[in-house]
Amino acid sequence: METLERIIAEHPFLADLDPSFTRLMVGCAKNVRFNRNDYIFREGDPANEFYLIREGKVAVEIFPAQGKPMIAATLDHGEILGWSWLLPPYQWKLNARALENVRAISLDGKCLRNKCEENHDLGYEVLKRFARIIEQRLETTRMQLIDVYAVR
């Protein structure tokens, strides 16, 4: 049987994490499932957790001021969803919707923030990994903004 600790340790986001940190994180983790078209979170809701996606595809949706909502990005197995739990006001800025049935590990943001405050080595490790994800997503967002497929 797969233990939560092993599932977390094998997720690409936490690859090569020191086992003592993994054990600390397990205390904040639980398995979750979402059915296709379920909203995982909505803009404005409290951001109390983040997700390690194990299976299925998630759409990150934005609502332009006028016009129809649109999918700005999709996230798949092996990726993480959500970083608004990291910083005040701990509120989601976007919607996340399951495009398929989704299995994920949910990590409690408040629980993990407390552990990071108590153990700065863990906190630094978590922040480094989130910084890499934020950097990658910022770069792909820039590429979307400059419209790389446009005829010039």
Binding site: K68, I71, A73, D76, T140, Q144, V148, Y149, A150
Partner: protein, 280 residues
């Protein structure tokens, strides 16, 4: 004394349009056959022709058809200006002039025995389609075929039926992505580089062929290098203002290279010094 030779590369040969099919709202595929009904001869995947729209002008267009189809020349054209619009609004039975094929083409010989990674953006899939046909019709000569294709939106994706059929072939992985998906889109959303993490790549035995807008190719080459491909195993097809197509006029000069004659396909190693220079 007669000076015009029948096969003079500067003289367009008359071809008849056999079919014009709509790929997307602004992109069309034209099938042409020689006016006299003979075969057009052969071309290499990645080569281009100069298509003469009588009374309007001449355009460099990559050949997007099957290299083993000798009765037709196939071109996929996006209507973006006066000449391309005139070309795609021609009807079956009308004539156009064809010069070529020109250019060096993709490195299919070098790719034999290797995995082939195709990375295309927008209409950049058209010059790569002959490579896909070639790999799939000589399957044992090549390793895995990985096709990563990005477009602005679902309605900009070319060859959607063929993409689905290629994905069903052995040893072939096809991943598509759009920058912006509507709420009904169930596929991947993100620029083409975000597909790399889902691709089953073996960089040490792979050759990558990349075609799309230059800015996209800059990001893609960076990503391919990150995954461990060497600069000499990454090939790019360049586009410039081709006029004569034989390296005389200099319109397509790019640094030390004439794109029409030495290219349009170059290794990333050859192009890297120029690719990140502003306005070259």
């Amino acid at each position: 004394m007669a000076t015009a030779v029948r096969n003079d590369v500067m003289i367009p040969q008359p071809y008849l349009i056999r079919e014009v099919s709509k790929e997307t709202y602004d992109t069309f595929t034209l099938r042409l056959a020689p006016d006299k009904g003979s075969n057009h001869g052969s071309f290499l995947p990645g080569q281009f022709s100069m298509l003469w729209v009588f009374g309007v002008g001449e355009l460099p267009i990559s050949i997007s058809g099957d290299p083993e189809e000798h009765q037709r020349l196939v071109y996929t054209v996006r209507s973006v200006g006066q000449a391309t619009n005139a070309l795609v609004t021609r009807s079956a039975g009308e004539a156009v002039g064809v010069r070529g094929p020109f250019g060096n083409g993709w490195p299919l010989q070098a790719a034999r025995g290797h995995d082939v990674i195709i990375v295309a953006g927008g209409i950049g899939l058209a010059p790569l389609r002959p490579v896909i046909y070639e790999v799939l019709s000589h399957r044992k000569d090549f390793g895995r075929l990985v096709i990563l294709y990005g477009a602005r939106s679902p309605r900009d994706l070319l060859y959607r039926k063929e993409l689905a059929s290629w994905a069903r072939q052995k040893e072939t992985q096809v991943l598509t992505s759009v920058d912006y998906g509507g709420m009904s889109w169930r596929g991947h959303v993100g620029v083409v580089t975000t597909l790399f993490k889902y691709a089953r790549l073996k960089p040490s035995r792979s050759i990558a062929m990349v075609c799309g807008p230059e800015i996209m190719m800059r990001f893609v080459t960076r990503e391919l290098e990150t995954y461990g491909l060497s600069r000499n195993d990454i090939y790019l097809s360049m586009e410039r203002n081709m006029k004569c197509a034989i390296g005389f006029c200099g319109h397509c000069q790019y640094g030390p290279h004439f794109i029409c004659k030495e290219g349009p396909v170059f290794t990333y190693e050859q192009l890297r010094p120029m690719l990140e220079k502003y306005e070259l």
